[in-house]
């Protein structure tokens, strides 16, 4: 099978999958009891019956389910994700307003987790029985099992309260004045704790996986050959072994990109990071159906594109993948 037909086939699957996601999400949201009229009443501290009827009418919630569904799917097909009930803004505007902050947080955290995770993995694979290796394992296990909101609050208490060197919340300090550099530095300061918190989960995954795969590779014949050639330890580890043990880590990183969005929801809430995660939580709490559906649709899109890319990249770096298909 050639590349073009594979891509074509994948895109067809993706389109079908996205439609299924749309219909399924919409139906599930519809099944849940209660609606936006209740949450608008809550935000208002109460509302009269006629007001609530008016809200339901305004948002088309009084229409039968098939009509609502058809309207929504039709809207999405024409690239219209609808209007947020809660904010009275187009959902696409809201999503693109929040996307940069989330991407900044997520990509930085992923990179940090990947680099530090791989280094720790290599380090502990080289001396698997040493005390430091156990320390790395313990550290990874802690990062993976501690809930992120707890890690976040602990870090806040440590570095914002006890040793007050970092800000508690948000993405920037609006009272600061200055040029681009000062603002970039300010955002970097605000990023430190959320990035550490979010990367702690993935760091554990990557370091464990890298350690396991590294140990496997280090035991193989060609490594022994390389050592017998008289290459230094570092050369063997980083030039020969690491390259080959990276493949599972890359695969995992590709898949994990979808998990990052869900991780971001919690981290963004603890640190009031103004991204998609905050928006997702807010719209779920408010039962703001168009926004939730928009974010879910967008996440599905990210996952599908991510998987497609991972697949293609793996085919390129490892000819064995897909050779039989």
């Amino acid at each position: 099978m050639n590349f073009v037909s594979i891509i074509f086939q994948r895109l067809l699957y993706a389109a079908l999958l996205l439609t299924a996601v749309l219909v399924l999400n919409f139906s599930m949201m519809h099944l849940a009891p209660g609606d936006i009229a209740d949450t608008i009443a809550q935000a208002n501290g109460g509302a009269d019956a006629e007001v609530m009827e008016q809200i339901r009418e305004d948002y088309g919630l009084d229409q039968p389910f098939p009509i609502q569904l058809a309207k929504y799917v039709g809207g999405v097909l024409s690239f219209d994700l609808g209007y947020s009930f809660f904010y009275n803004q187009p959902v696409t505007t809201l999503i693109f307003e929040k996307l940069p902050a989330t991407l900044l947080l997520v990509i930085t955290s992923q990179l940090l987790a990947l680099v530090v995770g791989v280094l720790l993995g290599v380090f502990s694979a080289r001396n698997p029985k040493g005390a430091s290796s156990y320390f790395v394992t313990l550290f990874a296990l802690f990062g993976y099992s501690a809930p992120v909101f707890w890690t976040g609050i602990l870090l806040l208490i440590a570095f914002s309260l006890k040793i007050p060197i970092l800000p508690v919340a948000g993405m920037r300090d609006v009272t600061i004045e200055g040029g681009f550099f000062i603002h970039a530095l300010d955002i970097a300061r605000h990023m430190v704790l959320p990035v550490i918190t979010l990367s702690s989960i993935f760091l554990a995954l990557y370091s464990r996986l890298c350690r396991a795969s590294m140990m496997e590779v280090l035991g193989s014949d060609y490594i022994r050959t390389a050592k017998a050639k008289g290459l230094s330890d570092a050369q063997v580890t980083y030039k020969h072994a690491l390259k080959n043990s990276m493949s599972p880590v890359v695969t995992l990183a590709g898949i994990q990109f979808s998990a990052v969005v869900s991780g971001a929801v919690l981290v963004e809430t603890v640190f009031s990071w103004p991204g998609l995660g905050s928006l997702a939580l807010q719209s779920i709490v408010a039962r703001d159906t168009p926004t939730i559906l928009g974010i879910l649709f967008f996440s599905a899109l990210v996952v599908i594109v991510g998987n497609l890319l991972t697949d293609l990249v793996l085919r390129m770096i490892d000819p064995r993948v897909g050779s039989k298909g």
Binding site: A32, G45, G46, A47, V51, Y87, N88
Partner: protein
Amino acid sequence: MRNFIRSLTLATALVSAVASTSVAAEEPTKGGTLISVLFQTPRHLNPAVQSGVVTGAPGAQLFAAPIRYDEDWTPQPYLAESWETSDDGLTVTLKLVKNAVFHDGKPITSEDVAFSVDTIKANHPFKSMFAPVTAVETPDVHTAVLKLSQPHPALMLAMSSQLMPIIPKHVYGDGQDPKSHPQNSENVVGSGPFKLTEFKRDEHVILERFDKFFMEGRPYLDKIVMRIIKDQSAGSIGLENGEIHLATFMNTVRNINRMKKNENLTVTPDGYAAIGAIDWLAFNTVEGPTADPKVRQAIAYAVDKNFIHKAIMLGTAADAKTGIHPGSPLYNSDVNGYDLDLDKANALLDEAGKKKDATGTRFGLTIDFGWPSVKPQAEYVKAALKKVGIDVTVRSSPDFPTWAKRIGGHDFQMTIDTVFNWGDPAIGVHRTYQSSNIKKGVIWSNTQQYKNARVDELLELAGKEPDAAKRKALYKEFQEITANELPVYWLNTLPYHTVYNNKVGNPPLGIWASSSPMDKVFLKK
């Protein structure tokens, strides 16, 4: 009755303002940026078409109301320099200050007052605020006359704070739906002491001093930055390390108690009397065992409020014996408070014919709760009622709308709930007890389906009684009857607290907390 308040000059207003806060006895300094915090993102910033305290905090800075209230529930002139109610109570005349302008420089006129009342009446969720207003006449630019179908004492509170923002007709009257007007969130043209610089959802609302504000020399602050921080623990840390100067509506009791130990901070429950939030245990008074008032009284005797106040609220909340907030001048503290008495509870249940079976159980009940923060009360009620033979099942809801659907649909036996007074009982209290407000599908209507002809009559009369003393007597009787029949059993006031850095002068501790103008707030040097 002629209730004419002499018009006050700005100078005396200023003197009285300084005098009323003479506890601090400090000369206000000008300038500076106050950093405060909002614990949710407001939907938008126009309180004319959106209630709730999150819109109220920025809304009361952006828009001025005709009057304002001091700490003792006394109305003070604000955009209206004086007001007068006719003898029959059917006409209220407002005289506006002459030098007031909107943020775009256009003068504030009686036309705008009429437009604001119309907009609020048509779009605000609290229909009872202006329901008796039949027309607003504008005999001249600075005089607005509200015509009423019946005397309406709640009007005074409804004309204050965030409830009656004066919005410009030339902006919000352009034919677009005011509920979704684009200038509710950006380019807001207000009438208040601060104008909008920037509103970024999930980030901040930035307000700056409006130089042409009609009160000379005010506001004192140059800028207010309201940071949106959704996690109260993170917000508390910000207060403790000095990053944030002021937070209102904090209700996480452990954070509150921890901050009390910080010497740079003042933590106070003052300022929430008008908002008047009360936690309560509501009963289905029509179906199931709780239809019998004796069962409801027995439950009240079996639930130890003292435990709730001390162990769950950790001393941060006050007792509430009736549906009117204890901070209100209309509160009746002489009613039965149902102190813990298990013998009485058992006797009442026996009397109601609910005998214990062989296992010591009388009957089963369910209890709902609307949000996680009141779950401990629900769990406690379960444990407390076990002692008198009532087997309670705690029914969780995955989220608020699910709970609202159940309670609004009358599909419940007991529920823990939080309801707000919103200033005058006619606005926030009547709705729970009037039989005319039994409306299936509407949360915070009379979901208990409580019916008492005398209560209906009392509330009807109190709603239009212009004489303060007579009105108080009517509400006194109303509170006696409801405390006896217990459609709901009131547990405690919400532990709302204001926390501020000691650098802050004149923090918003009036009856409306942060939903009041912060023109007098200043930062000490």
